[in-house]
Structures are given as C-alpha cells and as structure tokens.
C-alpha cells in the first residue's frame, strides 16, 4: 500500500510550506490580534458607546461580534489567495501540475491534493486566530476548538470554486478584479463588521449567497454559543455544498486543462 495519490500531490506544496509555516502561523496570530485591537477594541469602544448598538448586535459587545468572525475571514483570504496566483503558477508558470500528471497521478488526485493543501494551510491560520481569541474574555470558549474545522470548511467552500476558475485561465489578468469584486465586497458586506440585517433589503439575499456569510455565522454561533441546531445544520450544508460542488467542477476543469 502506497501513500494515497492525493497526499503525494499535497506533499509538493507542503514541502514548500514546511519552510514558511512558522511565518504563516506568526502572521495568523499577529494579523487578527492587530484587527482585534484596532477594530474590535478601538472601533468597538465607539460602537458600544452608542445607545442602541447592543440590540443590533444581538446583545453582545462589538469585540465579541467582530472577533468571532475573524476566523472565517482569515480562512477565506488565506485559501482564496492560494487559489489565485500559486495555482496559476502550478498550471502555467512552473507547470508543476502538468509534470505531476505525466506520472501515475490523475487530474482528480491533483484536485484532492490541492484541497488537502488548502485545508492544512487554513488549519494553521485558523488555529492561530483561535489562539489570539483566547486572549479576550468575550471570546474565550471551547467553541473555538469546534470553530477551527468550520473555518477550514469555509476556506474550501470559497477556494475550490475559485480554483476551478483559475484552472481555466491562461493569465492572471482577472485576479485583481476578482479580489476587488468578490473577495473585498464579501469581506465588507458579509456580516463581518455589522449584521447583514443592516443592509438594504434587496442586498440581504445577495449576502446569503456568499459562502463567507455562512462561515461567519456558523463560527460566530459556535464561539458565542448562540446558534440553534437547525440553523447550524443549514449553514454547514451550504458550506459543504460549495466545497463539494467546487471539487466536482475542479475535477472537470483540471482534466480539460491538463489533458487537453
């Protein structure tokens, strides 16, 4: 019995990642900490001073509201960026994936291997965030442990569909617009900084379609222990749907690109 094929694929990326994971973990600790101090505490002080903000936030402090969303956003950015330029590198620039499929590996193995790598990388990031969140009374809970896999799933739910897109492109020209029209708006309007109920009514359903919002809501619910099983299951199913759907589309697009 050999190593499963997908792990042999992930092995390449992990080999490279092994050299930088410490910096990555340090970043994953440092960045959320900065945001927590700068936005959570700083802006939070302004928000909590306002008379009816607490009811808008569901009865929690702004720090708790915002901090509980960071894990999912960090995962989205980590995995999302990984699905753009590094993926392009594997397909077009360094041709690593093309080299792989001239070995006994199949395009499907490459897809799964990539997913494994995304999962490892986002897991490191989410763990870093969890560690940072233990520093604050408002967010210190056992829910943090359960939230880590949810954050990883959020990363996959976003990154796998994106990977499918990347695998069909032959230049990185569309990436900055993707960052600006998809990643950033999701981040700004996806329930991270304020509840989506504040959005204009016509915009609210759009947020429902964003994988990030489901990830944020689920993580927040778990960390703050404020979500019922029905809602939690719904969010979970949507995330699995995005990730699984992305995986299926990837197997098709990878095959078409790598074996034209």
């Amino acid at each position: 019995m050999g190593t499963p094929a997908a792990f042999r694929v992930a092995y390449r990326d992990l080999l490279i990642y092994r050299r930088v994971w410490k910096a990555n973990l340090a970043g994953a600790l440092f960045q959320p900490l900065m945001y927590l101090l700068g936005i959570g505490l700083g802006v939070g002080a302004l928000v909590d001073k306002a008379p009816d903000s607490a009811s808008a936030l569901g009865g929690v402090s702004y720090l708790a509201f915002y901090a509980s969303a960071i894990m999912a956003t960090t995962s989205m950015f980590t995995a999302g960026q990984e699905a753009l330029w590094p993926m392009m590198d594997g397909f077009r620039w360094s041709n690593a994936y093309r080299a792989m499929i001239s070995t006994p590996l199949e395009p499907t193995d490459v897809v799964t291997g990539v997913a494994v790598y995304f999962a490892c990388k986002t897991a490191v990031g989410a763990t870093g965030v969890a560690m940072a969140l233990t520093l604050f009374d408002d967010t210190r809970s056992w829910g943090l442990v359960a939230a880590v896999p949810v954050a990883v799933l959020t990363g996959l739910a976003f990154a796998l569909p994106l990977t499918a897109w990347t695998s069909t492109r032959d230049s990185d020209r569309s990436f900055p617009p993707i960052m600006r029209f998809i990643l950033i708006p999701m981040f700004l309007f996806g329930g991270v900084f304020f509840p989506i109920e504040q959005l204009p009514d016509w915009l609210e359903p759009v947020a429902w379609a964003a994988p990030l919002w489901h990830g944020v809501e689920l993580c927040r619910g778990i960390i703050l222990d404020s979500i019922g099983p029905a809602k939690a299951t719904l969010h979970l199913l949507v995330l699995i749907g995005f990730a699984g759907g992305g995986w299926v589309v990837c197997t098709q697009t990878f095959r078409r690109t790598l074996r034209p």
Binding site: Q31, G42, V43, A50, S53
Partner: protein, 273 residues
Amino acid sequence: MTLTATTRSSMVTRIIPDVLFDVRRPQRLIERSVMVYRRSPMVIFSGFFEPLFYLLSMRVGLSSLIGDVEVGGRLVPYAEFVAPGLMASAAMNGAVFDSTMNVFHKWKHARLYDSLLATPLSAGDVAVGEIGFAVLRGVLYSGAFLVTMLALAMVQSPWMILSLPACALIGSAFAAMGMACTTFMRSWADFEYVPAVTLPLFLFSATFYPVSSYGDWSWVLQLSPLYHGVALVRAANLGEFSIGVLGHLAVLVSVTVIGVAVTARRIETLLLK
C-alpha cells in the same frame, strides 16, 4: 571638444543625482508600465470600485451603529470622519503593492532591471521611474476616491481638492520605502512580513478613531508616516490648516527622499556587480 564636455557633465552628475537633470529618462519606465497595462485595463479600472465599496460599507455598517463622532468640537457622522483616513490608507496600500510584489517580480523573475541598466538609464532613473508609476496610479485611485466621496456627499470643504497632492505624497513615500525594502527581500516568503508593517499602520494611524481616543499614547502616532498622511487629508477635508501641516509634509518628503536614495544605491550594488 565634445569628449571633454561630456566628461565634465558626468563629473557633475556624480555629485548631484543626475535624475534631477533629466526627468525624461525615468519617464521612459512609466511609458513601459502604461504599455503593459494598456492591454489589461480591467486591472486598473476595477480599482475604481474599491473606494465605493469601502465607503458604502462604512455608511450602512459602522456609521449606523456608531452614529456621530466629535472631531475638533463638531459632530460628524462616523462615515464622514473615517473617509479621509480610508483615502490616505488606500494611497498607502496601492503604493506598497505596486512597489513590493510587482517590483520583486520584475527584479528577480523577469530580470527587467538588468536589461534597463545596459541602456543609458541609470539605477536612479529606474528607482524614480518605478516609484513614479506607483504614484501616478495611486493618484488615479485617489481621484476615484474623491469623486466617490463627492457623489456620496461626504466632502466637507472645497479644499478637499488638496487631498490629491497629499495622496500623491503618501504614495511616493510608501512606494519609495516599499521599493527600498523590496531590494532586501530574498524570496516570496519574505513578503509575509509586509502586512506586519502596513497593517498596524493602517489600523493605528488615527484612521478609524480620533487622536483623542489614543489618550496618553497619542505621541506614538507621530512615528507612523501614514498618520501624517491621514492628518493632511483630514485637514484638506475640513479646510482647516495649521502650522502642523508643514511638519506632516516634511515627514513624508523625507521618507520619499530616503527611500529613493536607498533604492538607487541597492540597485547599483546588487545588479551592477
């Protein structure tokens, strides 16, 4: 004789950086960038929407949670307070991106600068040209920011037009610094450290809340070049200028000059071996 004439002129240029004599040369690099981006206008164009997203998010989100904040004795909606800070930060972020990742790619992978140095262009021309393009692009985005603010009725004084040169200065300071740092980077992994600098600057430069919120720690702000930029843009928005503006200008100009000098020096020592 012509020979001695050229020799003498070059003796002078060894003492005073010769870019000061001829801005047409760095301009060639800007021409090159324009040539490159002309083919993918979406890369530039999509950037125009960023201010819109940020400002709208502030308005429907935090601003309606927070309400008004007190700045210099009067109450303004939070979104209007934060807009100049975001504008200055956008100028910083754009410049940093252009002068780090983009420059590193051209430096190490495309080996663009090696081929430039074999032409009459000098290391100083390359530094000024690349930083110049970052600034130009930054000003374009700042213009978009300003227009968006106008459209959302967030501009408070006609002096706000001065935010454009202010942002150009912020852009050049950060582009110069970013490019100087990039010359020290060994591999892509080193770029993990860039946010370690820009993120605290973004969050703690009196961007999101007034200087008064910092209490006893407000002196730390002085160390952040972005704070000086934010202060300039805010002054322009309010149309209230004090003597302190000169100090802010001086800081940003010094950072730019030091950054350009370090960059030119590093290009010389690393590529002219």
